[in-house]
Symmetry: C2
Subunit: 207 residues, 2 copies
DNA sequence: ATTAAAATACCCTTTTCGGGTGATTGGAAC
DNA sequence: GTTCCAATCACCCGAAAAGGGTATTTTAAT
């Protein structure tokens, strides 16, 4: 028997999931909480194998609660749950020890598959979530201005630690020109200096 | 019926997986290939729903083949397969469109669960693989020298684009002191300048 | 042919870098 | 209890590089 607990501030969601999981072979309803505090309260005297956890809740949110729960009860597997497809939060919650992520409007089959996968220590994402993660990456990339080939070239060399004079020598340009490309990079990407330029570039996989 | 194809240069693995999947309800054996080229050859005249793909193969490796396959046949789901737990390759293969990743010595149950999850467009990692990914992150972090709290603080402010004088004002220090911390960061992390400092910091999630 | 974008180039000011030096503090080891 | 060390703080100098602004020449596209 897999004991499933749910934390969500929307009664409708709790009811919905509850009825979906009712009479499912091998799954037992452990209970529910409507905020982080009462979830933690529940686990003082009770146990569950899996916690379905909303990402957005009043007070402590899912991302934080996930970290606290995994700290206190490492054996409990956490499955993120959300209506909206926010790649950033999914990522954060996974970094905090969640074992997977599904949408609240997932099919019964997906929900059960996810619960079983996670129970065995595996990691499960529903397809839409995987797509959201990918889109998140792409979005943050495509929101950036297009760099010219020369600019990319200069950017890469800057990231490798070469100075303007060194880059100039490497690609047969005047140091002034390299500097111009560098300034265009700063302007295009709307950053102040080399530090923020490189930070942005690495975070968006430009280099 | 889910048609499963396998690409692996080790006959033992092909045989092993084949026998594991034999007589499993809903799963059909589509065939096998022992290198990237014959896999691509197979798909010219045939189809499969899922490809179990080795990561390390002579010639074109799994990471590359994965990209080619998803380009040509986006509807085919790819499940990475490996004996060794290399976080870096897992990451690369996922970036190239794979739908999951399991170890060759996975249990029959995990293998079947993974195939079903992936077939529905979901994403599945076996627990050990998830661990490998996490370890990979931690490993690359722990190989770095330990930074003092002050150094981390300065590093973060540099990454946010503040100059030495600005940082000095912000944390009530002499600009000289900030500069000292900055130089220590460069020395400790063995980098030349701000560009490489920030690149290393972001890549290792120091900021 | 016109135009916009890209690539090129220069000057001046501010900031960083590399090379030091040295005082102070708080904890760990002897 | 003293010695030692790492961390933090502070300073100086000169050379090098980056940042702000401006301007000309290619190149590609319509």
């Amino acid at each position: 028997m897999i004991r499933v607990f749910i934390v969500d501030d929307h009664p409708v969601v709790i009811e919905g999931i509850h009825s979906l999981l009712q009479n499912v072979n091998g799954i037992e309803w452990a209970g529910h909480a409507m905020n982080a505090a009462s979830c933690l309260g529940f686990f003082v005297n009770n146990m569950a194998d899996i916690v379905l956890m909303d990402i957005s809740m009043p007070g402590m949110d899912g991302v934080e609660l996930c970290a606290v729960m995994k700290e206190k009860y490492p054996g409990v597997f956490i499955l993120g749950l959300s209506t909206f497809n926010q790649g950033l939060y999914i990522k954060k919650m996974m970094e905090n020890g969640a074992s997977g992520y599904i949408l609240k409007n997932s099919s019964k089959e997906d929900l059960i598959a996810a619960i079983h996968a996670v129970k065995d220590g595996n990691i499960f994402f529903s397809g839409e979530v995987g797509q959201a993660l990918a889109d998140y990456q792409k979005y943050s990339k495509s929101a950036l201005p297009v760099l010219t080939p020369r600019e990319k070239e200069v950017l890469e060399l800057i990231a490798e630690g070469y100075t303007n004079p060194q880059i100039a020598e490497k690609i047969f340009l005047s140091p002034f020109t390299v500097d111009s490309h560098r300034k265009n990079l700063l302007a295009k990407l709307n950053v102040k200096n080399t530090a923020t330029l490189i930070k942005l570039a690495v975070e968006n996989k430009l280099i």
